[in-house]
C-alpha cells in the first residue's frame, strides 16, 4: 500500500474561523459542481456546521477510525438517519395542489431527525455568555489517509500534488474507507453502490483554477496552495506563523485542511463587568478540537492584533485580512470563465 502514498508536494487549505460566517456558499458551490448526480442527494462534500455541535453525520467524532500510536482504529459506519438530508419535498402539493395556504412545504416520508446543518446556530453557553462559531468540514486530503490504507482494492491513491482521489472504477462499495476515516467525510452512493468524496476540484486545480469552495467564499475566509510554497499564504499561516491548525490532530491522519481558531469576546461576570481572564469560547474546548498548539496560536493572533491596534504593522494581519483576493490562492488564480474546459 505504501507505494500508493507518494511523497510529493501537498495542496492544502486554511479556513479562518474568525471570518467564516456560515453562509454555506462553499457548500452550495461544491454541491452544484459535483454532487447533483443520482445517489448524491444527501452528499455534501463540504459542509459548514455550528460548533459546539453534533455535526454531520451526527456525532461523527465518536465513530472511530484514524490511528492511535500508528495502529488503525476500528470505525463504524454512520446510519443513513445520522447523515439525514437528501429529502424529497411536497412541491407539487404546495405549488400546484390548489390548497392555497393550507399546504406548507415539508419533507415527504418520515419526519427527519437529523440533517447536514441540523443544529445551526445553537452553539453552547448561557446568555450573556452564549457562544458559537462555524466550522467548514471537508475531506482533509490527509498525509496519512486512513481511507486509502483501509481499502482492500487500492481504489484510493494520493497524487503527486497530495490530493487523495478515488478510482471509481476500482471501488466496489465496501466502505472500509468510510469506517476508517475519522472525519466521516466519505459518502456512500446508494444508487451507484460506490463511495465518493471531495476531489479537491482537481480538474480545476490542474488548470490553475482554485477549488470552487475556495473561489466562491464571499468572506475571504479560505486560502489554498502548496504547503511548501514559502511565498504562499498557506505556508505562512501553517508553518511560519503556526496559527493554522489541523482539526483533531489526535486522530493521527495528518490532515491538510487547517483552521485559524476562533477568538472570542470576553465573558461577562454575573455583575455585568467583563471577565478579561477568560474568553467566551472555553480554550479547553478549542484544545480538544485543534490540539494543544491552539493556545500558542490564539496568543499569536492576539498579540499581532494588539500590534496593529497600537499602530504597528503585522504581516500576519495583512494575510488574514486578505487585501487582495487573488493572493489567497495564487498561483491558482486563473478565472474559470477565461479557461477552456473542453
Amino acid at each position: 500500500m505504501a507505494e500508493a502514498i507518494r511523497r510529493g508536494r501537498q495542496l492544502a487549505m486554511v479556513f479562518d474561523l474568525n471570518k467564516c460566517i456560515g453562509c454555506q456558499t462553499c457548500s452550495v458551490a461544491c454541491k452544484v459542481l459535483w454532487t447533483r448526480g443520482e445517489g448524491q442527494e444527501y452528499q455534501w462534500w463540504i459542509m459548514v456546521n455550528t460548533m459546539p455541535g453534533r455535526g454531520h453525520p451526527r456525532d461523527w467524532d465518536q465513530m472511530g477510525g484514524g490511528y492511535r500510536d500508528g495502529v488503525p482504529q476500528p470505525g463504524r459506519l454512520p446510519k443513513r438517519e445520522e447523515w439525514g438530508g437528501g429529502w424529497e419535498f411536497n412541491y407539487d402539493e404546495v405549488f400546484y395542489g390548489g390548497k392555497g395556504e393550507e399546504a406548507y412545504l415539508r419533507p415527504l416520508g418520515p419526519q427527519p431527525q437529523w440533517g447536514p446543518n441540523w443544529d445551526e446556530d445553537q452553539g453552547a453557553g448561557e446568555y450573556p455568555n452564549a457562544y458559537f462559531f462555524y466550522l467548514p468540514r471537508m475531506c482533509n486530503h490527509c498525509t496519512r489517509p486512513a481511507c486509502l490504507e483501509a481499502c482492500p482494492r487500492g481504489a484510493l491513491y494520493k497524487r503527486e500534488d497530495g490530493i487523495v482521489l478515488r478510482d471509481e472504477g476500482r471501488c466496489r462499495g465496501y466502505q472500509f474507507c468510510l469506517e476508517a476515516c475519522p472525519y466521516k467525510r466519505i459518502f456512500f452512493n446508494f444508487s451507484r453502490r460506490i463511495s465518493q468524496q471531495c476531489i479537491m476540484c482537481f480538474p480545476r486545480v490542474e488548470k490553475g483554477v482554485a477549488p470552487a469552495c475556495v473561489r466562491q467564499c464571499p468572506g475571504r475566509a479560505v486560502w489554498f496552495g502548496y504547503l511548501d510554497d514559502e511565498e504562499g499564504p498557506v505556508y505562512k499561516l501553517v508553518r511560519q506563523w503556526q496559527v493554522a491548525l489541523p482539526l483533531r490532530p489526535d486522530f493521527g491522519t495528518e490532515p491538510n485542511v487547517f483552521y485559524i481558531p476562533p477568538l472570542a469576546p470576553y465573558r461577562y461576570n454575573p455583575d455585568g463587568t467583563l471577565d478579561r481572564e477568560n474568553p467566551r469560547i472555553p480554550t479547553e474546548y478549542l484544545e480538544r478540537l485543534f490540539g494543544p498548539k491552539v493556545r500558542d496560536a490564539l496568543a499569536t493572533l492576539r498579540s499581532e492584533m494588539e500590534k496593529t491596534r497600537n499602530g504597528g504593522h503585522s504581516e500576519l494581519m495583512d494575510i488574514l485580512i486578505a487585501y487582495r483576493w487573488q493572493d489567497m490562492f495564487r498561483p491558482f488564480d486563473r478565472d474559470p470563465v477565461d479557461t477552456s474546459w473542453s
Binding site: Q73, K79, P152
Partner: protein, 214 residues
C-alpha cells in the same frame, strides 16, 4: 424452446426437479484473517466474528446446454440492500480456476486467475468476476449468467446458471466430461460481511461436468 424451458424450470430453486438431484453439504469456514489485504481490516476484524454461515447445501444439475448450481444456506434475516447504511446486501459466489491450478486462498494469482459467479441480493443480474489475487476482483466479459434467489423461512435458496462450453480468457470453461474445480463463498450482510470478510469452502472441490437431456 427446450432450452428456455429448462432454464426457466431449473432457475426456480423450488421446482420439484431439484428433489431428484443429490445434495452435498459443503462446510464453510471464515477466510484467514492474516490474508485480509489491509491492516485496517485485519485490526478491526481480529476480535469480531465473521464467516458466520457455516455450511451451504449444494446441488448441481445439468440441462443439455446449461449448468445449474442450487445453493441453500440459513439466514434469519435477509439483507436485500444496504438498509440503514450499516449493513450490506447478502451475497454468494461460486468460484472456479480459469485454467488449472489457481490458488483458492489468495483468489488466484497474476498467472492463474479465478472466475467467480457472483450473486448479490441488490443486483438485478449476477456478475462474472475475475480475480488475479487478493483485492483484484473485477467484472469481466463472459458467457451470460443467470440467477434466481428466494429467501423463505430463514433460508436463502439461490440458483446460479451458465451455458456449458468455452469460457474464454475471463471465464471458466465447463464442457461435459471434464472434471472442474469449484469453491463456494457466502457473505452475511447483516454482519457487514463484504469483500474478503466472508465464509468460504476452504478447498477446491472436484465436480464432474455432466450434460442433461432436456
Amino acid at each position: 424452446m427446450r432450452l428456455q424451458l429448462a432454464l426457466r424450470t431449473l432457475l426456480d430453486p423450488f421446482r420439484p426437479q431439484w428433489e431428484r438431484v443429490p445434495e452435498e453439504v459443503v462446510p464453510l469456514m471464515r477466510t484467514p484473517l492474516h490474508l485480509q489485504p489491509t491492516r485496517y481490516i485485519r485490526a478491526t476484524w481480529a476480535d469480531r466474528p465473521y464467516g458466520v454461515v457455516r455450511a451451504v447445501q449444494v446441488r448441481v444439475a445439468f440441462s443439455s446446454s446449461h449448468i445449474f448450481f442450487r445453493l441453500q444456506w440459513p439466514d434469519a434475516q435477509p439483507n436485500m440492500d444496504y438498509g440503514d447504511g450499516t449493513v450490506f446486501p447478502d451475497a454468494a459466489a461460486v468460484l472456479f480456476p480459469i485454467n488449472g491450478d489457481a490458488p483458492l486462498l489468495t483468489m488466484g494469482s497474476p498467472e492463474a486467475p479465478v472466475n467467480a459467479w457472483y450473486w448479490r441480493a441488490d443486483l438485478s443480474r449476477p456478475q462474472n468476476l475475475v480475480a488475479h489475487g487478493l483485492g483484484t476482483v473485477a467484472e469481466a466479459e463472459g458467457p451470460e449468467l443467470w440467477a434466481h434467489a428466494i429467501w423463505r423461512d430463514g433460508r436463502w435458496s439461490l440458483v446460479l446458471a451458465r451455458a456449458l462450453g468455452e469460457g474464454g480468457a475471463t471465464a471458466v470453461t465447463l464442457v461435459p466430461g471434464m472434471v472442474a474445480k469449484v469453491a463456494f463463498a457466502v457473505w452475511e450482510g447483516e454482519n457487514q460481511e463484504r469483500a474478503g470478510i466472508k465464509s468460504f469452502s476452504g478447498i477446491w472441490r472436484e465436480l464432474e461436468i455432466g450434460q442433461g437431456r432436456g
